[in-house]
């Protein structure tokens, strides 16, 4: 059976599943429950500088998007960093770490952009015995209005500067948590690297308004008739986060920069995808907030079984496996031809593929009077929409056309050789084929 032990920038944990800095890691009580449930590590909810703690709203802090049966698909929050006194948090961190020395204990930090503030807090964190710090440069609400959180994360120069201060003032490994509320994730990642960060973690939450209350004419969550944008997370953000992880993982300049993957990890499969896309571990929040800490048991068994099925011995064997196959569009093989094929034994004749193709795509599916649906190979461009809307898994598949056969849509023979846009005759900027 695969050993899930993970070594992330020198920090060991029994599995790659950490709880992200968020409400579930705000205090000792929760974190002890998390460790008892089996979580490999936690990033303690962000600490601010000493003094009167921040104050949260007293109305609703969360908004949500639901799928069928009120399955939570996306969550947004307007909660701030910890609103408990600094010394209480530090005491609790120390106490928990002592009792769970094998678990990763990272402390998230957010203090003003002056070196003194960082110099003041870092020794206090070191004293707890924590394994590392994570710099919260991502919080998109409330704290950003005070020049912290994503206000820092959106300015690469600030990221580099603060990261350097941290590295100069502590022996602890330093993870820089990135905000997705920028245009090119590689810039802040490069700044973190330049400042000496040991790793980046991403993504923090996305600026969002989940819904508008159509009676109050105000955004949700609504507090006394008003609402503010919040940070979006949960399953809905996974595709965005995965792309940002991939952008960093496959960047020539950033290659090798350790990544802690965050964003909608809900099952072992999500976690495995992040690992394959280059993350050394994953951080989870919304799934725990939705289902409780017990879900980690499914993540552990699922990842372990998957690694076994692939003949891998540890998560490290999986890390980055999908990175070489993550390409730019221009390098995709234009000579690869496939066609949709409908398995008539599995088809339940709902006709969704037909409606989607006929109304919105390429009119490549035929419907008979007795509701038999078939693909018209001479129209099918293999767009995949039929598969995506089909309610029956594997009922429609994409079948590759063998080289040498003729594509009935174009009348051209399928070429065996790879050929992409960079050398395509229609490309005015084409380069000679190698």
């Amino acid at each position: 059976m695969a050993d899930l032990t993970t070594d992330f920038i020198g920090i060991k944990s029994p599995n790659p599943f950490w709880l992200a800095s968020a409400p579930p890691t705000d205090k000792e009580y929760n974190v002890r429950r998390a460790f008892e449930a089996g979580w490999g590590g936690v990033v303690w909810k962000t600490l601010g500088e000493d003094g009167p703690p921040v104050v949260n709203v007293n109305g609703p802090r969360y908004g949500a998007i639901w799928g069928a049966d009120r399955r939570l698909l996306g969550l947004n929050n307007i909660e701030l960093i910890t609103d408990r006194p600094l010394h209480v948090n530090l005491q609790e961190i120390k106490s928990v770490k002592q009792d769970y020395p094998d678990r990763a204990m990272i402390v998230s930090l957010m203090v003003p952009c002056v070196e003194e503030a960082w110099k003041a807090i870092l020794p206090l964190v070191e004293e707890t015995g924590a394994d590392g710090v994570e710099l919260n440069f991502g919080c998109p609400h409330g704290m950003s209005e005070r020049g912290m959180g994503s206000a820092v994360g959106q300015v690469p120069e600030y990221i580099e500067m603060v990261t350097r201060w941290v590295k100069q003032n502590t022996r602890m490994p330093c993870i820089v948590k990135l905000t997705p509320n920028i245009t090119d994730i590689r810039k802040p990642a490069a700044a973190a690297k330049a400042g000496g960060a040991d790793a980046v973690s991403l993504i923090n939450t996305i600026n969002s308004i989940t819904s508008v209350n159509l009676d109050l004419f105000a955004p949700e969550p609504t507090i006394d008739g008003k609402g503010a944008h919040g940070g979006y997370c949960g399953p809905a953000v996974k595709p965005i986060a995965l792309n940002m992880v991939a952008e960093i993982a496959r960047s020539a300049d950033l290659r090798g920069l350790p990544i802690s993957g965050i964003g909608g990890v809900t099952t072992w499969r999500d976690a495995a995808e992040y690992l394959a896309m280059g993350a050394g571990n994953v951080q989870v929040c919304t799934a725990a907030m939705t289902y409780g800490f017990k879900i980690v048991q499914e993540m552990i068994s699922g990842l372990s079984d998957y690694l076994d099925s692939k003949g891998m011995h540890s998560p490290a064997d999986l890390v980055g496996r999908a990175v070489p196959n993550t390409s730019d569009w221009q390098h995709l093989n234009l000579n690869y031809i496939s066609k949709a094929k409908i398995n008539q034994d599995l088809c339940i004749s709902c006709g969704r593929c037909y409606a989607a193709c006929e109304d919105t795509s390429h009119q490549a599916i035929a419907m008979s009077e007795n509701r038999v649906f078939t693909v018209k190979d001479d129209e099918c461009v293999a767009c995949n929409l039929c598969i995506n809307v089909c309610p029956v898994e594997n009922c429609i598949t994409m079948e590759q056309m063998a080289p040498g056969t003729t594509d009935p849509r174009t009348g051209k023979i399928v070429e065996a050789d790879y050929g992409n846009w960079t050398t395509h005759p229609n490309n005015p900027n084409r380069v000679a084929a190698e």
Partner: protein
């Protein structure tokens, strides 16, 4: 000492009123808000959906379910009611397992269809709980139309005609409107006097006058109606009941199942409804099942349903057969009654086993019986009606009969199954044709 299951003969009050109340409660309790949401989310919104094709009234089922799923059950109800004005009752009594839900692709996929009937009820109940009526009348046409029969066909026809701006007079022989919705459906399918509530709601459109106690051939004549009105719609149902043609049929305790069902529906106190200890129901349709199940629910000790052909030929759906079995009704197939025995009152009934061609095999058996319900079909009653085809009024697709200016629909008309939903469709379509005909006449 009050009666119980073992009390011989025909007796009332075999069960405590609490048990009776529970037995006759809603067969399918209404979906709660969340249940409806979850059920609606299962709909795939099929293209050219098979469920719509399977619905005799062609309700746009995917659309109304999506309207429920998006939190607008009243819009859903309008989608339903614009096709089927008795969508509330149909949601309760339709054999959905052989219509829309049988066609549902999730039945194909998983053997668990979207619960279309229950969702329909959720929508129509929501709308009908609100005051007012969702449809309005067109400008008055000055035309007057007579509708004979206030059952599903007549009411659907009347409503559609009223909506088109015509004035409608509905004649019915019984003291209450609703036809079989009021008199012919098992009590647990239409609780809380829903049939009357629905009629009252339907009449909310205006322009419809109900005249009770008016039987065709007794109080009114077709010729008279033709003379007094611009058009006539016959939705008179099947007033006659088939006889067993069996020796001893006249004995006390041998009754028509339709009368038993009607009496039960009209009863204000179920504990006062007498029922036999040993009850035998003869027939294989919905009426037979409704009678047998209700006999059991009233506290009969033994209820046996005997059908002359095999199970597969029963008109009652497998769901209905299972319902009967689950209530403790014994179903015997391939047997025909030979004679009713007893000294004045029925005591036993003798059956002969038959093969699939209804030929007796020579084997017979007797069942103890102090009550026998005949449910072997109904017949059209009346004289001077339009041309008859296979025992019913012959019609074209839109309900036109052999007589000019006379349309017919529902159970009395040939074509289609004898279902509430079919009657509604025929009444509605006849109304459209009447309207088109009168409009064309100018």
């Amino acid at each position: 000492m009050s009666a119980n299951a073992l009390t011989p003969g025909i007796a009332a009050g075999r069960l405590h009123s609490d048990d009776l109340h529970q037995n006759f409660a809603d067969l399918h309790p209404p979906l709660g808000q969340h249940e409806a949401q979850v059920a609606a989310d299962r709909c795939y919104f099929c293209h050219d959906a098979p469920c719509v094709t399977a619905c005799p009234t062609a309700i746009d089922i995917p659309l109304f379910i999506r309207q429920i799923a998006t939190g607008t059950p009243e819009a859903a109800a309008k989608t339903i009611l614009s096709q089927n004005i008795l969508g509330g009752m149909c949601a309760r009594v339709c054999p959905t397992e052989t219509l829309c839900e049988q066609a549902c692709v999730r039945e194909t996929a998983e053997g668990k269809p979207v619960v279309i009937g229950q969702l329909q009820r959720h929508a129509t109940d929501t709308l009908q709980a609100k005051a007012g009526h969702p449809f309005s009348r067109a400008a008055p046409t000055g035309r007057r139309i007579a509708v004979v029969g206030a059952g599903p066909a007549g009411l659907a026809c009347a409503h559609r005609l009223a909506m088109k701006g015509h004035d409608v007079v509905v004649f019915d022989a019984r003291p209450k409107a609703g036809g079989l919705n009021e008199y012919g459906i098992a009590s647990y399918k239409s609780t809380n006097d829903f049939a009357q509530a629905e009629v009252n709601w339907l009449l909310g459109i205006g322009g419809i006058t109900l005249q009770h106690g008016q039987a065709l051939g007794r109080d009114i004549t077709l010729a008279g109606l033709q003379a007094d009105y611009d058009a006539v719609f016959l939705g008179i149902g099947l007033g006659g009941v088939n006889a067993l043609a069996t020796e001893g049929e006249e004995k006390t305790g041998v009754l028509d199942a339709v009368d038993f069902i009607a009496d039960l529906r009209q009863a204000t106190d179920l504990a006062a409804v007498p029922i036999g200890r040993d009850v035998v129901v003869i027939g294989g349709g919905m009426t037979a099942i409704d009678a047998a199940v209700q006999a059991k629910l009233l506290g009969a000790l033994n209820v046996t349903l005997v059908y002359r052909r095999g199970r597969a030929r029963m008109n009652a759906s497998p769901f209905e057969q299972d319902l009967a079995a689950s209530k403790g009704v014994r179903i015997i197939t391939n047997a025909i009654p030979v004679r009713v025995l007893g000294n004045g009152a029925v005591r036993e009934i003798e059956f002969a086993y038959t093969d699939d061609t209804l030929t007796p095999t020579g084997d017979t058996f007797r069942l103890a019986a102090d009550q026998v319900f005949k449910a072997i079909g109904q017949t059209l009653a009346g004289t001077g009606l339009p041309d008859i085809e296979k025992g019913k009024i012959a019609t074209t697709g839109t309900g036109r009969t052999s007589m000019a200016g006379v349309w017919a629909g529902g159970d009395c008309a040939a074509g289609g199954d004898d279902l509430t939903v079919t009657a509604v469709a025929q009444g509605r379509d006849a109304a459209e044709d009447i309207h088109a005909t009168l409009t064309a006449e100018g």
